[in-house]
Symmetry: D3
Amino acid sequence: MSRGIFVGRFQPFHLGHIATIKFALEKVEELVIVIGSAQISHEMRNPFTAGERIQMIKDSLDAEQGIDIKRILMIPVPDVSYHPLWTYQLDIMVPRYQSVFSNDFFTRLLYKERGIEVIQPGLHRRNELSGTEIRSRMVRGRDWKDLVSTQTAKFVDDIHGIERIKAIFMKHSESSH
Amino acid sequence: MSRGIFVGRFQPFHLGHIATIKFALEKVEELVIVIGSAQISHEMRNPFTAGERIQMIKDSLDAEQGIDIKRILMIPVPDVSYHPLWTYQLDIMVPRYQSVFSNDFFTRLLYKERGIEVIQPGLHRRNELSGTEIRSRMVRGRDWKDLVSTQTAKFVDDIHGIERIKAIFMKHSESSH
Amino acid sequence: MSRGIFVGRFQPFHLGHIATIKFALEKVEELVIVIGSAQISHEMRNPFTAGERIQMIKDSLDAEQGIDIKRILMIPVPDVSYHPLWTYQLDIMVPRYQSVFSNDFFTRLLYKERGIEVIQPGLHRRNELSGTEIRSRMVRGRDWKDLVSTQTAKFVDDIHGIERIKAIFMKHSESSH
Amino acid sequence: MSRGIFVGRFQPFHLGHIATIKFALEKVEELVIVIGSAQISHEMRNPFTAGERIQMIKDSLDAEQGIDIKRILMIPVPDVSYHPLWTYQLDIMVPRYQSVFSNDFFTRLLYKERGIEVIQPGLHRRNELSGTEIRSRMVRGRDWKDLVSTQTAKFVDDIHGIERIKAIFMKHSESSH
Amino acid sequence: MSRGIFVGRFQPFHLGHIATIKFALEKVEELVIVIGSAQISHEMRNPFTAGERIQMIKDSLDAEQGIDIKRILMIPVPDVSYHPLWTYQLDIMVPRYQSVFSNDFFTRLLYKERGIEVIQPGLHRRNELSGTEIRSRMVRGRDWKDLVSTQTAKFVDDIHGIERIKAIFMKHSESSH
Amino acid sequence: MSRGIFVGRFQPFHLGHIATIKFALEKVEELVIVIGSAQISHEMRNPFTAGERIQMIKDSLDAEQGIDIKRILMIPVPDVSYHPLWTYQLDIMVPRYQSVFSNDFFTRLLYKERGIEVIQPGLHRRNELSGTEIRSRMVRGRDWKDLVSTQTAKFVDDIHGIERIKAIFMKHSESSH
């Protein structure tokens, strides 16, 4: 059986990720969604915990027609303190895999230095469909819900996620002075 | 929706675990299998990596008739350095849950101190169906395959697991002198 | 007996903190001063070690008329790597408490997410009585001693604290280029 | 002013420790009680959290006639991963001190290698007044309360400490097989 | 025998370092080159691994006429989480030494606070011969090879170092937005 | 150029190690002596710090006729928390190498699982020439000096090593009760 991994931080999980998952499922039989920086949350670039991110992904994919949830695993992986060990850490936290999908810079650089090719899924609507853009809209009170699934939007509301992000942002602005 | 977690180390995944999963799936709609001590491997009591354990579990459950894999998540969680933080670490690594199933001592003690009841699944054939017993048989060259699923047995063979365990055991015996 | 905790970094301990301590001692019988980020020192935002901060606090409170030192504990607590575990870490490092006083953003956010109210002491003379302002004055050679107790001022002199802060600042400016 | 530190693990705090504190207070003006291995709890040799140990000590000393609580500080200090850094970690977590009191092996060895003398308080009733003995009695259901202060005994009861220790012991015995 | 240490990060090893080594070898019989921040790589300010830096240094010094390689040791030392422990960490990772050479800010500040003088080698051609300047030239595609030894230049080429640095820089610029 | 690594803990450095180094230098042009478990010291199985071990090795090899010190590097490497990352950590802490020499169990197991052969040097006088045996003799006051070089023996005396080991052993025996 062929297995692939899709490495990201999913802060938050959005429509671009869903497109990538569909893309990957055409190429591999089983896909492991690796939730990177699993130990980090409550920060500007990483507002959500691993558990919250898994729940966003699970809720979204369960509702998605074209995706067979049985072909998907979700595995949170914490960062390593020695950068070049990151891909080897993936090897020991994840079942054996043959392909890697990722837009994450480090993941691509480090696999490349190991001589392993990383498939970089086409980023359509790249400007909008990025975690950075979505978090920025959340902070500024602009509309972000059309960039994520209904399930993610609902979940963020349920956990008062916007309140958390705004609080982190306010703190962050202060400290920069 | 009701969600439960089943906390164990799964060194290795065996028939007792499958019985517990079936038992738990009668009580909750979704079950998260928490692979504890995720960062440890290549030790007497923890020979297998998190990725290897996830693969054993996935292969076994895929083949199990009575289990709907769509209702199951598998999440590896590393130990925390401050013991009493363990259950709170589970809270942040796992989607929100309502019930806890575990035979693990620490997990039960710590949830109890938080005032949360842990469901201890009946251990049938307890003497045999334990990780300790199985690892002991592996080391001594006695038959262990009837205590695990066909898939786990095959996977352990594939990765030369018995060779690894025997090597660890030999080292371990030496150091004790 | 009622016990409260007052969480801060105390970089350095200043008159605003003393006001808060007096305010808190009106509401609780015993107050634990939690010295946060205890492991950090020799950085722009955290120049002083935990031991140095404890000494500033102890010296200042010993000299303060309106404060009964017997009702006060001082406990340094290091940061946790998983942010949401912070308040639980407090639970295990500190005797049982009923109230929380803090102006620290994270502490307030995380207790709030646990459903625990944090008392935010009124910040009088807020613009001046802040660690940021005091450290900034120290670096720029402007007068800072009227913002702290005589004892803190003396202690900072004793350990050549201004020299340290200026050295850190110079380094910091360099690296930003 | 002269300041001393008294380094121990206080698992649990007992009458021998109180004798040492009285002994030390005759030699120094201020005494810092360093609660070592602060990050460890829920283990055979370290059943109690730092917060619990601080509470035992505080309650006991408040009730002790001959001890002026104003002359005492209590500071929890976690272990360091590099053993020889331990005493230097004390230097940064504790206000400046001139004398060291300890029966702890490592503390004495490491200060000695730095050329600093450690005062080893006379251990009267040594066989009984040791943490090891008290924990052993707790596990075996024998009388331990006459080896600790009334306050420690009461506190251990309040937190169901015997239950915790027995549970840890049972687990421990199991794993040894 | 007199032994000195020369503490730096060597990102990358350049002609200024070689000058310092020659300078130090006139003052001490044996010199330990301490490769600081040994655990960090693949970052803007720290692109190279400890192993890569050691190889640059070894290759360069082997080719250098005026340097007797037998009088030199190279020891990588990872950062400590408590800043003030840094120099004590050096004490335990390095054979006993009598002199310290360093331009590193922290190393100098911390030794000074211990009362130990650090010899700051004259920085000739300081503007050019700095890691910051060299990394900046590497990123911008300007000439950097005349600031390092032939051996370092060749080694950076061999490991596709410029490609790595440019990739890290692009990532870094993105994240700043 | 061909480079090999020789991985051990060197607690302490003994005649068997010297034999291995000579053996390895016949096969490779440059040999890196990897001092494993570099962060551990002051323990029964690991009494000496990395710096002390490096000094033993350096002093011994400088005095050894048949060994060209210019062909040797000594690199201390701390353990990793995830066992299977150990050999990859070596890859990033050490210049590129082609051969591995080691009698260390884990090193051999893990390289083997990567498909890399480890050369196990013949252990002559194995019963005697082992760290375990030597430490045991040190503790029991039996003669150990003929199992190490004159330089190692002298160095252990200089740092009062036997005193340290006996102290650790006494502590260790106590705790086992």
